[in-house]
């Protein structure tokens, strides 16, 4: 009896070890595969994450127009529900590139996920909206009010903490009022005026809510941050950056070309993407030309977010230098001015 159990325990232990080892080799296999492919065909392969929302329009256009293929890059697209899920896939080696907000990226960087900023991506309006007429500023929220945002640690959560610190002196003032809801669910709860008082959201949901009678902005992202900031950045893993320099360069050029094209052809882009967003092309065009929306590969606010998040305890360390969190093309673009910081360097800070 005693021996039998001992043997069983050892067997169980061995099985666990094997399962874990198997998982390890599996996660490394795709990288080797893509290498072989590249040598055989002269083309590079990349796995890119894509989420939902208006800010992903340039990626969708790149897909339609074949902007990555033009530079010899074969793309495998993977859909994710949130930046957090994309970050998990990045951490487990299932992805080479992903797009997410600066705060989720910094949380991953702080924990040691080996990826850096390869491109800026978009500057976008993001606001806290309410339908309650008595709420005019953050001070007017009472206990019992509920504020919906996508998840803890999201761009919206950090912006709310920044504003709470500035206006109420306590970054965690609203933590007990938060409700984590995906954008579409939050939007429908807002329109039904049910359960939640306010929603911190992004286009197209933001535009949808603001088009309603009596819905207004309590706080804009720029007010919370102090100036403009990048809503999303594109990341590439260290593994891919180091082992596929050609693939990396093609990725940066593909995104750049897609952004340049969309900025000059918004009408045509709206026409191409209207079925994907399931809305009339006139409405999509209006949303894509909303004041404040700026598709650009320049990063804004990288250091400003890091400094606040370190101070408020969301991350444990600060990047000493931009090159710790961004690849060469970005750190060279920002530069390092001798003496006082340059304009580009100042844009990475908070005001």
């Amino acid at each position: 009896m005693y021996n039998k159990q001992k043997i069983l325990a050892i067997l169980l232990g061995l099985i666990i070890v094997f399962v874990i080892l198997a998982g390890c080799t599996q996660s490394k296999a795709p990288v080797g595969e893509s290498k072989v492919r590249a040598e055989e065909t002269g083309r590079e392969k990349i796995r890119i994450a894509q989420q939902f929302g208006l800010v992903y329009a340039p990626l969708m256009i790149a897909q339609e127009k074949g902007f990555f293929e033009k530079y010899g890059l074969e793309v495998e697209w993977k859909r994710f529900g949130s930046g957090g899920a994309a970050r998990e896939a990045l951490a487990s080696g299932e992805l080479d590139a992903a797009f997410m907000g600066i705060p989720p990226f910094l949380i991953g960087w702080d924990k040691g996920v080996p990826a850096k900023v390869a491109v800026g991506y978009v500057v976008s309006p993001v606001s806290l909206v309410t339908y309650k007429s008595e709420i005019k500023s953050l001070k007017d929220f009472k206990s019992g009010d509920k504020i919906a945002l996508p998840s803890p640690g999201s761009m919206q959560h950090i912006l709310l903490a920044m504003a709470a610190e500035r206006e109420l002196g306590n970054a965690n003032a609203f933590d007990d009022m938060l409700v984590a809801l995906p954008h579409p669910d939050g939007c429908s709860a807002m329109l039904a005026k049910k359960d939640i008082t306010a929603h911190f959201t992004t286009p197209p949901y933001l535009f949808e809510e603001l088009s309603q009678q009596g819905y207004k902005e309590v706080l804009t992202g720029a007010e919370a941050f102090g100036q403009e900031f990048g809503f999303n950045v594109g990341l590439v893993t260290k593994e891919y950056h180091d082992k596929h320099p050609r693939g990396y360069a093609s990725f940066v050029m593909g995104v750049s070309e897609a952004i340049t094209w969309i900025n000059h052809h918004k009408e045509e882009a709206a026409e191409i993407l209207a079925p994907e967003f399931n809305m009339p092309k006139e409405k999509l065009y209006k949303y894509m030309t909303w004041p404040g929306l700026n598709y650009t590969t320049a990063p804004y606010g990288l250091i400003g977010f890091a400094e606040f998040m370190k101070k408020a305890g969301y991350i444990s360390k600060l990047p000493q230098d931009i090159s710790e969190i961004a690849w060469e093309n970005i750190s060279a673009f920002i530069g390092m001015r001798e003496g006082s910081p340059s304009m580009m360097e100042q844009l990475q800070q908070r005001k």
Partner: protein, 254 residues
């Protein structure tokens, strides 16, 4: 005593394997934290963990409690009336395979965001296995025991409490075990998939927050408390009930 020793030895060897893997440096901390780091996080976060655990247990007891009351009423009615029995059996065939969490989007629409839909989903998840087990238990009371009871002059409620329920107790306890497990599944899944509101979230919300902050040791610390609560429930409460009742009456082997 020897059994307890073997039990500890087994758990210790699992922890040892875990620690070896974590220290081998094969995986970064955000994928595979060391046991030391997990215990440290557990101690450091203990005030929040305990608060969330208390909140989760309140929701579970609310949900499970109403499920037990509902199950007893429905199973009792099924035993006494053929028509009710058929209706309940049909309903059970429809509802039992439905995972409670699948109904959550509808519960959100009907009852709003907050704990109400969570309690209702917990009650729903636990109700069907409870009814099935209680009903089976009551139905499988040996006819000889029932007859013996009747010959001794018992009837009505005394027959139910002195003969039927004791005879059905092994099934009732099994039902409670399954119901308890499904209640936890429903609670954690609901809070993790649909989120919760910060002021009133349980352990699912804790896991959700830790996940998005990428605090993997914190996620494991949350799992640890769920395991501890499960072990206490199993060994301290259900086992005691069993020892005081069916083991004492010798209605089960061992």
């Amino acid at each position: 005593m020897k059994k307890l020793f073997r039990y500890c030895l087994f758990v210790a060897s699992l922890i040892l394997i875990w620690e070896c893997l974590a220290r081998s440096g094969m995986y970064p901390e955000y994928l595979f934290p060391s046991t030391g780091k997990i215990f440290y996080t557990f101690i450091q976060d203990s005030s929040e963990i305990l608060l969330r655990a208390r909140y989760s247990l309140t929701l579970i007891f609310l949900g499970l409690g109403s499920a037990v009351v509902g199950a007893v009423i429905l199973a009792g009615a099924s035993i006494s009336s053929k028509m009710v029995s058929e209706a309940v059996t049909t309903l059970m065939a429809i509802m039992h395979p439905l995972p409670g969490i699948a109904l959550f989007p509808i519960a959100l629409l009907w009852f709003g965001i907050g704990n109400k839909p969570i309690v209702i989903i917990i009650a729903f998840s636990a109700l069907w296995p409870l009814i099935a087990n209680i009903y089976n238990g009551l139905r499988s009371v040996p006819v000889t025991q029932l007859e013996a009871g009747k010959i001794l002059g018992l009837s009505g409620s005394r027959l139910i409490f002195s003969v039927m329920i004791p005879a059905a107790l092994p099934n009732i306890i099994t039902g409670l075990r399954v119901g308890w497990a499904r209640a936890w599944q429903a609670l954690v899944a609901a809070e993790m998939v649909f989120g919760a509101s910060g002021g009133e979230g349980g352990l699912g919300w804790l896991l959700y927050k830790r996940r998005f902050m990428m605090q993997t040791p914190g996620v494991f610390a949350g799992l640890l408390i769920i395991i501890i609560i499960g072990i206490i429930m199993e060994n301290a409460i259900l086992a005691t009930v069993e020892n005081q009742t069916i083991r004492k009456w010798k209605t089960t082997i061992d």
